[in-house]
Symmetry: C3
Subunit: 270 residues, 3 copies
Amino acid sequence: MINTFANDLAEIRRRNPLVHNITNYVVMNFTANALLAIGASPIMAHSVEEVEEIVGLSSALVINIGTLSPPWVTAMALAAAAAEKKRIPIVLDPVGAGATRYRTETAGKLALEHRISVIRGNASEILALAGGTSATKGVDSVNTVEDARTAAMEMAGRLSCVVAVTGAVDFVTDGKRSVAIANGSPMMRRITGTGCAASAITGAFCAVQPDPLAAAAGALVAFGIAGEIAAEGNPGVGTYAAMLLNRLGDLEPEMVTKRARIIESGFRKL
Amino acid sequence: MINTFANDLAEIRRRNPLVHNITNYVVMNFTANALLAIGASPIMAHSVEEVEEIVGLSSALVINIGTLSPPWVTAMALAAAAAEKKRIPIVLDPVGAGATRYRTETAGKLALEHRISVIRGNASEILALAGGTSATKGVDSVNTVEDARTAAMEMAGRLSCVVAVTGAVDFVTDGKRSVAIANGSPMMRRITGTGCAASAITGAFCAVQPDPLAAAAGALVAFGIAGEIAAEGNPGVGTYAAMLLNRLGDLEPEMVTKRARIIESGFRKL
Amino acid sequence: MINTFANDLAEIRRRNPLVHNITNYVVMNFTANALLAIGASPIMAHSVEEVEEIVGLSSALVINIGTLSPPWVTAMALAAAAAEKKRIPIVLDPVGAGATRYRTETAGKLALEHRISVIRGNASEILALAGGTSATKGVDSVNTVEDARTAAMEMAGRLSCVVAVTGAVDFVTDGKRSVAIANGSPMMRRITGTGCAASAITGAFCAVQPDPLAAAAGALVAFGIAGEIAAEGNPGVGTYAAMLLNRLGDLEPEMVTKRARIIESGFRKL
């Protein structure tokens, strides 16, 4: 699978796929710059008046619920329906699922009613979403990485999508196949928007790679490698944000192959 | 009081308090990164569907009126009511009060109808707000720092809150006690969002320090010191923004004690 | 004309004109920092409750349709009407015109119904807008720089405004006089918001320079020079964004005169 990562990065650089983002206010600028750096073309558009047309131009749709309000939720559903119809991949980032009912329900509804390619969140978001989309609402265990992985596998199988749980080690699963990725740096959690950027970059990889498991894994490996190289020299947090964009911008495909740290892989039963 | 500043900074780093921001579009990213750098956990949420729940998770609420519209004003009032009920501190940043009736009235209404812990603004904003919240609407003097300080003391006493007037020298008062702070750098006015970040960081200090005068003063001292260290070496404005985050991120509590420049302190009569 | 550029830059630094921006979420922070760096005072405000009052305080209005929704479109029209009435310059940035009907129509309506001083866009946006504002809707040729220039001259003459088509070489025309500008760097297209910042800086130049052709050309020359100096040393994309702000901040008027690269100028017939 590692070779697909490098090929996909090169392909993004070649095709510059248009990635439509309906995302939160906090990270729009950083997300757009991250997508440009990796080689994609970002477009942000959120109004019902135009999201379907924007989807019509795009190669992937990324929905991020970080700063929700009702008009945006309506547009997210419209855009998702258009993306399904056009058969372009949808990435869902359930920011803050579990923190409020509004977020949990919005993310759950999007996940249940649309054909999502990849759901990417941290452990607590995935646990909350898995609970919210499960008929039994049975996930009430302590919030641990292991629980989130189990929930991710269950939800991935149930919804026929890929679920990525990011953290110190990222875990990506389609319910049958699972990959754990040890790239990245603790610095990535010290600035805002790295999770959201990871989701957007997953959208870029999905635009060129039909297997969403390979796409999500490739995105997290590439982003993680950029993040760990950016942390060399121990920059301050403000400098780190710029360095991360620098390293996304000059990341070589061969470097992805060389530095990928996939620490487990294969098929796991539920 | 200086010792509380260092302790409070250390306490923020220990507790990582969740600070709920309803703030303007321009500064959301910078504010989130400033809060992360100082050690707090930022969350941005603005819709009536969820602000009360977000307040329920948070240790402080920061309301900033920099890019207002009616749904946001409604959410601000709901969030403020929830924060009062939960007895968590509220910081109000009346951005642009005095520039338009909408801003002056919105800030005035929030200040009058809710138990605000700290109001932070520049001289003209505080003068406008003091005029707008005073029954006599009597502040029609020339807009000077001295007038703003007098207005701040009057308003602080009347509303039982702390008022911080920031500028070349910051002035913080609860109507009886007053502190002037000479930390900071002129560079801070050359980039957008430093005032808004100061308000957000005040929220972080309020989350760990029950005396809002000490909290506001500590926040302005800490932020000012980060700002003056960041200006060393005379960086350009773009670099300065990153340096300011770097220095917030590595600011040591002892440094706060050592570099605090409180040039007047004590009790002043109105 | 080159001497007006340096004088205008010095004048912006002297007067710090207030520039009202109704712009998109992605670039608000970068735009505000770019305006501060060049010496202007940015204000962002978008609600119908206050845009007319903000226009009343401002020396220029910049309308950017990058992340549209109906309440913003209403506010844009109100603000534009107020700016016309007050006789302050309006700059229109038709971001994404041609990509969706909503954008093309919104930009077209603003261009037709208001006295715009400068419309700034890339080749495809100008072609789309020229098609959308033309009775014959006749621009259906291939999307080339030369077509965009022809369309810009036609539209400028028809709407009595200045049209700037930015790209590897910028082209500015009022329908009779035309200027081409070869300043800038390919790096400017690798980060988000440089086009939007160019429009905002055009607003700052319009605030001090009554000839909109000279204002637009001066803005693009100044911004382009900052962009090319910032690219020296081949920074990464994240660093480049900071360097661009640095170089806008320390750009000397004499440097503008010295480095301006106007490669054609004069009167051209349609």
